[in-house]
């Protein structure tokens, strides 16, 4: 019987500088085999620390982590054979060519490009025209693809991708996620990836929304959106800047955030759509356009993050 979970993580905690900085505050989650699991949160949420513990590069202060049934602390050497790790920053040799980088990383795992070529075929054909080029001279998107190839070349059971799409343009980002989805479908490779871009959450089977070293929630993207219980309004008017200021001033507003071309507004208890309209008209926004909106992951994140937001000045 196959192992049901590729990763089990139990009340994982990690702090730096003798406890002054709490990077992870008791995080627990499981990732099923073949699953695409997303860690979604801003910089400083603890994503990188979680990845480094999974990749056997840091020791947890407390809690336990198993990768493919192996303890990341005691059986680290075997874990390292089974994972493909792509750190958040560019970590290839800038002075080596595309091909030399790939061949080197294949050799470190005791394999060759030819042996596992099928795994990286789709991605590698895109960068192959540049195989004589030094890795340092590639564009952001190409670098990411090469780094993915290097992490994949030894056919790992689990891919750990720390912010693979940060600083990458939306088109390359989309392509990147499509590649991951394909890997999972065709080769059953499990993936844990992190991203600060909330719109990428939809690409994952399940996501954990992270902030300040803790999970705000863990669920499928649909489940997270489904659990958003508040009524959400989409508000526009001819004078957008003034509109936001007016919304923020009103005691009936609970939250008002810009969202694409409109504002997403939630109302304080006891207020309803009619109150909102009346208020806006009284403020001179006679042309205002108010409609009920469907929440997105970002709305959910902001609603869940409200408590920690109180520490932030406005």
């Amino acid at each position: 019987m196959p192992m049901p979970f590729i990763v089990t993580c139990d009340t994982l905690a990690k702090s730096y500088r003798r406890g002054k900085v709490q990077a992870l505050r008791g995080v627990s989650f499981e990732v099923a085999e073949g699953e695409m699991f997303g860690l979604i949160g801003p910089d400083g949420a603890g994503k990188t620390t979680a990845f480094r513990i999974l990749a056997t590069l840091l020791l947890p202060d407390s809690g336990s982590v198993a990768v493919d049934g192996l303890d990341v602390v005691r059986q680290y050497a075997e874990v390292r054979r089974r994972i493909g790790y792509m750190p958040g920053r560019f970590s290839l040799y800038a002075d080596l060519t595309v091909e030399e980088n790939l061949a080197f990383f294949a050799a470190t795992f005791g394999t060759t490009i030819a042996e596992n070529r099928h795994l990286i075929e789709d991605i590698y054909t895109q960068i192959e025209p540049f195989r004589e080029r030094r890795a340092g001279k590639l564009s952001g998107g190409m670098k990411q693809k090469l780094a993915l190839c290097c992490a994949l070349i030894h056919a790992p059971r689990l891919l750990l991708l720390d912010e693979p799409t940060t600083g990458v343009d939306p088109v390359s980002r989309k392509e990147f996620w499509e590649m991951l989805a394909k890997l999972r479908v065709e080769y059953g490779i499990s993936v844990i990836a992190s991203t600060p871009y909330m719109d990428e959450a939809a690409q994952c089977d399940r996501i954990a929304l992270m902030q300040d070293g803790a999970f705000l929630t863990t669920d499928t993207p649909r489940g997270i959106i489904g659990s958003y219980k508040q009524r959400l309004f989409r508000v526009r008017s001819g004078r957008m800047h003034a509109l936001l200021a007016d919304l923020n001033e009103w005691e009936g507003t609970q939250t008002a955030f810009s969202f694409g071309e409109a504002y997403h507004v939630t109302l304080a208890p006891g207020k309803d759509e009619a109150d909102l309209r009346a208020y806006l008209v009284s403020k001179g926004h006679a042309d205002c356009d108010v409609s009920e909106a469907k929440p997105e992951i970002e709305d959910c994140f902001m609603a869940l993050a409200q408590t920690s937001e109180e520490n932030e000045p406005r």
Partner: protein
Amino acid sequence: MNRDNIVIEAHGLTKRFGTFTATDHITLSVCEGEIFGFLGANGAGKTTAMRMLCGLSKPTAGTARVAGYDVATEAEKVKRNIGYMSQKFSLYDDLTVAENLRLFGGIYGMKRSEVKAKTRDVLVELDMVATLNQRVAALPLGWKQKLAFSLAVFHEPKIVFLDEPTGGVDPVTRRRFWELIYRAADRGVTVFVTTHYMDEAEYCDRVSIMVDGQIRALDTPARLKETYHAASMYDVFYALARTARRGE
């Protein structure tokens, strides 16, 4: 926004590196108090174009005037009249908030009393008065970012260039940051901003999208969506950037 007063104007601005044309005849004009979104895929030539507009790099061909000065011949005057903020906030981590502000005031030749008064105003606006004597390193990311923006506009430039200012920042802080941008624009500051968040493209007055070194589209977000029959700026961007030939 004052549509009669053009503060950034580029005509056929081009930069070649050997046989490679990084920026290929771009033409645009931005008016006072406008928020201009400068979008493009990685390697489309955004950074090169922005460097030329900031007077940091000489154009191979074409002309550009920023804040009334020619970027090729009056680069120093251009630099005095613009503010710049990059993703790697240009703050000194080991200096306090006050020291950072004093330093930047000094760099732009502001008077001591002026710096002092301005420091108070800025910190009150950001609600960060308590951090005056704290080291920047100890501040949360969101605060640093807001402080970096305030530094970029500290010497009251007419134009501020923001290069991916919100990368990696949480959604709430990102929106607070845009409120700062709105306020600056309402004061008449022109904001020239690049971003990879497509929802932020919607917050701009006008947006240009660069592909392979050229500006392929330039209009208000609403009209761009109409032209490309797209539901969001993401779809507009995707439709254009997908046609890119340049692989790097």
